[in-house]
């Protein structure tokens, strides 16, 4: 019995080695990823696995207009997709396999069985990098911290790298240009704004019974505040950090944005029923009714995603309603989705983007 198992195992190993050798004989090309590593990938990429960063599948869909060729992704990307518009744009997304990752660990043999041409992964995940190297799968690293967490440029750099992997330069230009124009238009309107005219913003990044975290500088929250004419109250802190209620009172922010990594909603703060020992009633943003939830379209809008240019518009309008009075967010979203995702949004879908459900914070 044991011998049979052993021989089966040996044969399967040989088959895999042969398969690996077969890969190697195809014509190949070199792509430089975001760690500066030169990765040799097959000439034609037909089978893609995205293990991380979680928003990358949404950018993939922005880039391709569909989830074509995507054969595997992280369970967290899949559960995020469930509450997003991703399945509406690319119905095949819910069929994508995520069973090769359990409890955040990649089962390398399951991954090999999928026979991916290339794996896309988060540059900071060195453990995964080692796994891919051992398995001999070409792996292209995507960085989440481009230019000190500049969201728009992170998105642009991801799109460019996807363009190199798939040799589709034409769609890259359109997306990157749109993002640049959006950014520049908003900056020119905000130009000359005095520091005291900028609202003081608190971003509730993780907020639950067990976590109370904001985004300091050197993280996406700082970028969003800087790019949309606001002051990040937590800019003295770095990255994502724990805070406490007393510090919030001291900051007394004008506006609070809650990300989709928290299941709390603005009304929880207005009605003061978020947490038993957190009294929000005295905080300025709550008193003045300026607590907002980050929208959620093709992915959560706080990290870089296929919808990042739209988030810039959303934040600018909420920080400076008088400056952006002429901006119709519903229309902007509709146009963007029609142009890049080739879909017409219903009224209900637009509403769902700006009023995401609590459950969308699951799996974080």
């Amino acid at each position: 019995m044991r011998r049979t198992i052993l021989s089966i195992f040996a044969v399967s190993l040989l088959v895999q080695l042969a398969a690996g050798a077969a890969f190697a004989t195809d014509s190949r090309r070199v792509v430089v990823d975001q760690t500066g590593t030169e990765v040799s990938i097959p000439e034609k990429v037909e089978r893609v696995v995205i293990t991380s960063p979680w928003p990358l599948p949404s950018v993939y869909v922005l880039f391709h207009g569909s989830a074509d060729k995507l054969i595997g992704m992280h369970p967290a990307s899949l559960s995020a997709a469930k509450y997003s518009l991703l399945p509406r744009i690319a119905p095949e997304v819910v069929e994508v396999d995520s069973s090769f990752i359990k409890n955040g660990e990649i089962n390398v043999e399951e991954l090999l069985k999928m026979r991916p041409d290339v794996v896309l992964y988060n540059a900071s995940n060195l453990r995964n990098k080692a796994i891919f190297e051992k398995a001999g799968i070409p792996a292209v690293a995507f960085s989440t911290s481009v230019e000190k967490f500049n969201v728009m440029n992170t998105l642009n750099s991801w799109v460019k790298l996807l363009g190199e992997v798939f040799q589709k330069e034409d769609s890259v230009k359109e997306i990157v240009d749109y993002g640049r124009q959006t950014y520049d238009a908003i900056q020119s309107r905000l130009a000359g704004l005095a520091e005291e005219d900028k609202p003081r913003v608190l971003i509730l990044f993780h907020y639950s019974e067990t976590q109370f975290m904001t985004s300091g500088s050197n993280f996406y929250g700082q970028y969003w505040c800087d790019a949309s004419g606001a002051v990040n109250v937590a800019s003295e802190l770095r990255g994502m950090t724990d805070i406490n209620m007393e510090q919030v009172y001291e900051w007394n922010p004008d506006i609070i944005y809650i990300t989709n990594f928290s299941s709390f909603m603005p009304e929880d703060l207005y009605e003061n029923k978020a947490l038993p020992n957190h009294d929000w009633s005295g905080v300025k943003a709550v008193r003045e009714g300026r607590v907002y939830k980050f929208p959620l379209g093709i992915y959560r809008w706080f990290p870089p995603s296929g919808d990042s240019p739209l988030n810039l518009k959303f934040l600018a309008k909420h920080n400076h309603p008088e400056l952006f009075e002429d901006m119709d967010l519903d229309k902007e979203v509709r146009d963007y989705y029609r142009r890049f995702y080739h879909m017409d949004l219903s009224d209900e879908e637009v509403d769902r983007i700006f009023h995401p459900v609590r459950e969308a914070a699951g799996g974080v």
Partner: protein, 339 residues
């Protein structure tokens, strides 16, 4: 340091007042701009007239945020230090603490197991107590050979039992639902006093207070227990019962402290040694001094954790970074003689 008796009594009285004064002072310290004097006024008015007549923001900060946290820090610090002192004398082992005997790991396991099934703090307390007792009994049983248990044997068995229960904790984490239970467990193990409410304080505090009362009441007999067993018996003490009572009391304190503020190490080892440096090894003084110094130490640490930077610093990190160097200093200074 003179060894005159009356001088020590004065010092002991000072120790009673110290936590109270420190507590009042720390209510005036924090990120929100209130001077110590203003905070004190807010507290006084709030106690006298309730919410009315106090600025709601100030009321929130002083009464709802700082006060419960200060009380919790005082309680847990006092409890952990006193149970450290008690364990050290009944096992006649200077290194016996809730951490080294496996009580902390055992209680943690009980608590995370309870977290897996219920959200009820009382269950968490009960499970932590039972599991902590199981751990300490196991440690004691392993270390005994021929009726004796050497310091070395006890530390070794403590290490084994600790790592075993730590492994059980990891197992529970592995089995926990990553989306809803795991973050709660992870956060709880880190140890933070920021999520304390009066409600959870009301459930946890009686256990600590009762345990402390037992330790204070039996502190005279602790001296006898630290003699050899035959000597203690010849003085007419029921050694086994007494030992059991004290172990249960100290474990109850530890379990309760852990269930309210997670795993905070070092206090049970460090504070009793400081107390012994000040008062010699007579438990009549060591236990109350440990209670007082432990309360103040934890209060200072937690006040730093919540006010030093705009970000909240995990308490366990601070106790270790302050505790370890201080302990090294003690070791070098005394050459281990006083330990």
């Amino acid at each position: 340091m003179t060894k005159r008796f009356d001088f020590r009594l004065v010092l002991l009285w000072a120790l009673v007042l110290l936590p109270l004064l420190a507590g009042l002072f720390c209510i005036g310290v924090g990120r929100y701009s209130l001077t110590v004097g203003e905070s004190f006024k807010v507290l006084a008015r709030a106690l006298a007239f309730g919410r009315d007549g106090v600025d709601p923001m100030n009321y929130s900060v002083v009464v709802n945020i700082r006060l419960p946290r200060v009380l919790l820090a005082l309680l847990c610090g006092a409890g952990l230090a006193a149970s450290g002192a008690a364990f050290q004398s009944i096992f006649t082992n200077p290194l016996a603490t809730p951490d080294t005997l496996g009580v902390a790991a055992g209680a943690s396991f009980g608590a995370v197991l309870a977290l897996l099934f219920w959200d009820n703090l009382l269950w968490i307390q009960a499970m932590a107590l039972v599991s902590g007792l199981a751990a300490v009994s196991l440690t004691f049983w392993i270390s005994r050979s021929r009726g004796q248990s050497s310091v070395l044997m006890m530390i070794l068995s403590g290490v084994v039992v600790s790592s075993m229960f730590q492994a059980f904790v990891s197992l529970v984490k592995y089995l926990a639902d990553p989306e809803d239970k795991l973050p709660a467990i992870t956060y709880w193990l880190l140890g933070s006093l920021s999520s304390i409410t009066y409600k959870s304080l009301a459930i946890g505090a009686p256990f600590i207070l009762f345990g402390l009362a037992v330790l204070v009441a039996t502190r005279w007999k602790l001296n006898v227990l630290s003699l050899s067993e035959d000597e203690a018996r010849s003085m007419g003490l029921d050694v086994n019962t007494l030992r059991a009572v004290i172990v249960v009391a100290a474990t109850m304190i530890t379990a309760s402290a852990i269930s309210m503020c997670g795993q905070v190490g070092w206090i049970g080892l460090l504070v009793p040694h400081v107390a012994r440096m000040l008062f010699g090894s007579n438990n009549r003084y060591v236990v109350p001094a440990s209670i007082s110094l432990g309360a103040v130490f934890m209060l200072v640490i937690d006040t730093v954790a919540r006010s030093a930077t705009a970000a909240e610093i995990p308490v366990s990190i601070l106790t270790a970074t302050i505790g370890a160097p201080f302990f090294i200093f003690l070791l070098k200074k005394t050459g281990g003689n006083r330990l």
